[in-house]
């Protein structure tokens, strides 16, 4: 099992993700190799909260050009973690 810090990279900070906090949903960029079970465990351990549900999605990297060379930006995995009612993460924007 990976360490919690290897699973969770950083919180997703955007208008949408900040809005989701109201529904007790917290979004994180996570290791692309991590699965939902690992993510659940990592969040529970790191923030001492109870996780109700984890949904994940992979954000595909984009094609970028540098002159005549094409390359790809890396794929990223986003996890939207729903906490059990009564739990919350203080200072979500931090980390």
């Amino acid at each position: 099992m990976r360490d919690a810090r290897d699973v969770l990279i950083r919180p997703v900070i955007s208008e949408k993700s900040v809005g989701l906090v109201e529904d007790n949903k917290y979004s994180f960029w996570v290791n692309t190799a991590a699965n939902k079970i690992e993510i659940k465990a990592a969040v529970e351990k790191m923030f001492k909260v109870k996780v109700e549900d984890v949904r994940t999605l992979t954000v595909k990297g984009k094609e970028k050009r540098m002159g005549r060379y094409t390359g790809m930006t890396p794929d990223r995995k986003k996890a939207i973690v729903t906490l059990e009612p009564g739990n919350k993460i203080e200072g979500f924007a931090g980390l």
Partner: protein
Amino acid sequence: MAVKMEKMDKSRVLLEIRVEAEKVSAAYSRAAKQAGKEINIPGFRKGKAPKHIIERYVGKDYLKDRAMEELIKPALLNAYQETEILPVSAPTVDVVQMEEDLDLIFKATVEVKPEVELGQYTGFELEKKTAEVTDEQVEEELKRRQDRHAKLITVEDGEVLDQDIATIDYEGFIDNVPFEGGKGEDFDLTIGSGMFIPGFEDQLKGARPGQELEVNVRFPDDYQSEDLAGKDAMFKVKVKAIKRKELVPLDDEFAKDISEFDTLAELREDIKQKMLQSAELSIENEYRSEVVQKAVDKASVEIPEGMIQGRIDSMMQEMEMRLASQGIPKEYYEQYLNENEEQIRESYRVQAVEGIKTELVLEAIAKQENITASNEDVDKEIQKLAAQYGRSAEELKTALESRGELDWFKLGIVTDKTIDFLVNSSEKKDSSDQTANKEE
């Protein structure tokens, strides 16, 4: 808002101002919102980021600074009103406490109009000169007019004499080589005017129209052009024409020609009267400023540095405007004076201090003696001014009002009245009326 005032010395005041927490946090939020609108935070559209994100992004201190900026200025203005002080310089602000949801406390040191300790200002015994115009002065003035109205006649056949105007072509050589600037055509040279190099004009004397001659001169050692100074030069000169001033005789005819008077005696009397008037006026002005100077000398006042600097600033501005109107760049002027800006400022200092002191003393006297400008005074003065500019008094008044210069205008009247008061009380007239009669 709470203000505590403490006098530090004669011209400085320390204010401690406390602004309530609600106001502070409101200002803080506004600052955050405002900042959010101005900057791009990735992940958010402009102005859509929540406060805590903005806080993290720009830093709390930045937002605090912004909030303070918004708070301190009106708070200071309020404080000035509450404590009835008139600041004369920008305050130095020292923030004691500034937190998002606590009272804002800050200390401001500000220079205020200093209190003037008036000394004696009435009953000066000053000698007032009487205006005098001697007959010689009148005669001189008459001569000047005669000269101005002299006719120029061309001398067809004759020699160049002193005071004649010779029209000449000339070309100068040094060692038989023409030099720059040594050439001229149809130049009207008045003999004896000293416009040319010493000796040049003398050597032209005796020449006849049409005559060509060589003039040998030596440039003076201190001549402005270094290339030429101290060199011998030869000028080829051709005298083209000679003109001579012919003075009109001073008689009744002359008086009729140049003035509305019929006889010379009348003209003479008129000149005398006018000279007398202007002499009286300048003596009066001199006397007035002497009286004021005395009162100023007797008073003592500590002028705060800020006031002096402010005055010097406006003097510098005035100077720059004057230069600009003459088309001289400032750097040029500095070079000419061989002083940099700092030195020029320093040289204005004495004048600035003197000016401020005079104003303050006059103001203090006006206050002490209850000299004010009534509405009638203002109207009267405006009418006078309007007549000068050929405008209607109403028009002028609205113009002054709209530009907010009426107060300034009033101040001028009060100052005048104060000086009148000083003058009257000095001459020891038995009535030391507060509202002295205005003299024209």
